[in-house]
Amino acid sequence: MIINGVTIDDAFAEAFGMKATRVIITAHNLKWAYHSAIAMTGFATSVIGCDCEAGIERKLDPEETPDGRPGASVLLFCVSASKLTKQLEKRASQCVLTSPSSALYAGIESDEPLPLGKFLRYFGDGYQSSKMIDGRRFWRIPVMDGEFLCEATTGMVKAIGGGNFLILAESLGQALTACEAAIEAMRKIPNVIMPFPGGVVRSGSKVGSKYKSLPASTNDAFCPTIRGLTHSEISPGVESILEIVIDGLTENDVRTAMRVGIMAVCKLGSANGIKRISAGDYGGKLGQHDFYLHEILS
């Protein structure tokens, strides 16, 4: 398959089942909502080392938030419910509770509740109070700028992590430009995040390592500087490769984001140095969800 001179490999992205939640952060203005959201989603690029993958899904206008203030919706993904519970608690307490004027609300409904204010309330040292309004329980925790308002629970849902595609370009500059175009387009898709810095990862990994303590190591098949030493999958003329990883709430969300991202890259085409699009898999043995590039783009 070739789109605008870009070769689409007959490859698939291998993704995994995860647990996810969405929370809504609001604040006095968008600036402070983003300070909190950025902190909450920090150090959350990969479950390999961070235990959590998180990102800002999108900005929320005042009319979209529960309290009528500007805000941001945040998605968090973990490999298990217990890890998600722990990560959410830590990130909410250290990054949202601490952030001036912030409030934290559930962003998704499900039959599986995750504690939110339920644990944070103890920070109130006995001065906290709860209020049940229209079937939703809120915790009010006294803090130095007034009250931190936090919904008692949010919902947890099954989700998918690790959707991906690789951009193979003639130069690093061209690969970056293509990724920026892809990310800009993908950020308009709901229910997905691209958890790496700027949405892009340069250190794509394979499972395992020659060092026993490491669960993952560099994806040598796509490393240009060692192409002569390894079983390289890099075609002639390619000098730089970048990857975009996608976590989404459903298969369809991941598929849509991949399609939109790849199409944005292909729009630049071979004229801008984009040679190929590929995807990362683990031999089809580890993940539960396979996203075939040709199928997604057809």
């Binding site: 006995g126 001065y127 229209d134």
Partner: protein, 273 residues
């Protein structure tokens, strides 16, 4: 076409009558004859429904009581579904232990209205007596859930040992409003009398007007814009009440107490409304 089950009082009974057997869930699919033969406690006697009321209609999920008087007690007691509409005043214990559904009284209600109520909606278009949403002697809690709206005034001891739920009083409230309150929300649009918040442990009392006097055991915590009030006031907008017109956000003076009993209840007095 189904007609609402209607009970029209023939004459004012000599003694008080316990109307607790007349709820939608208990009447179920009973026919008119069976309903008329239900025996109600009245003083130390029993009186048949058919002797007390003219009964008509068949839709027992919504019961209408006409020409009611203040001798009819325990209307909607432990009711779990459906609706009861009463034209005229009612006696005490209206909605006692109510589990769900809706009761509307086009008149006044007596003492202990909504005591032990757990869920649903109770609306009094007139005034309510003493101990509205309060615990009866020996009971642990008063109101335990649901919403109670009083279009008129309420008597003394509103929300005594109230545990959860909402009480909205469009008129005035008597003395000891929110006394020994444990949780939940009471809002009063008019004035409150003496000893407001006496022995209050937790919960919220919202006052549109500052009381003439406050207990010395309440501490002033200053004026604030509390974010949660946005949610609370928004939840009132759908109500058939003056409270639906409450502004979206109101600055409040926060008083906390009753410190005489180590209470952390809050009295919020609306500012500039």
């Amino acid at each position: 076409m189904m007609h609402l089950l209607t009970l029209k009082l023939k004459s004012i009974p000599r003694f008080r009558v316990d109307l607790s057997p007349i709820t939608p869930d208990q009447l179920g699919k009973k026919n008119l004859q069976e309903i008329c033969s239900i025996r109600l406690e009245s003083g130390n006697q029993k009186i048949c429904v058919g002797d007390l009321f003219n009964v008509s209609g068949s839709e027992s999920n919504h019961i209408v009581i006409k020409d009611s008087c203040d001798k009819l007690d325990r209307i909607g007691q432990n009711m779990g579904t459906g609706a009861i509409t009463v034209h005229g005043s009612v006696g005490s214990y209206t909605g006692f232990g109510m589990r769900d559904g809706r009761i509307t009284i086009h008149g006044n209600s007596g003492d202990y209205t909504a005591s032990g109520m757990k869920k649903g909606a109770l609306e009094i278009r007139g005034n309510a007596g003493h101990f509205l949403a309060s615990a009866i002697p020996g009971d642990k809690y008063g109101l335990m859930g649901g919403i109670v709206i009083i279009n008129g005034d309420a008597g003394d001891r509103v929300g005594d040992r109230m545990r959860r739920g909402t009480v909205l009083i469009e008129g005035n409230a008597g003395a000891y409003c929110a006394s020994r309150m444990l949780a939940g929300t009471i809002a009063v649009m008019g004035k409150t009398a003496d000893f407001t918040g006496f022995a209050m442990k937790r919960g919220t009392l919202i006052l549109r007007n500052a009381p003439d006097s406050m207990l010395a055991t309440f501490s002033d915590c200053g004026n604030h814009d509390l974010l949660y009030l946005k949610f609370l006031f928004k939840s009132w907008r759908k109500l058939h009440s003056k409270f639906s017109e409450f502004p979206a956000q109101v600055r409040v003076q926060r008083l906390m107490g009753d410190r005489a009993c180590d209470g952390k209840g809050e009295i919020l007095i609306c500012q500039d409304t």
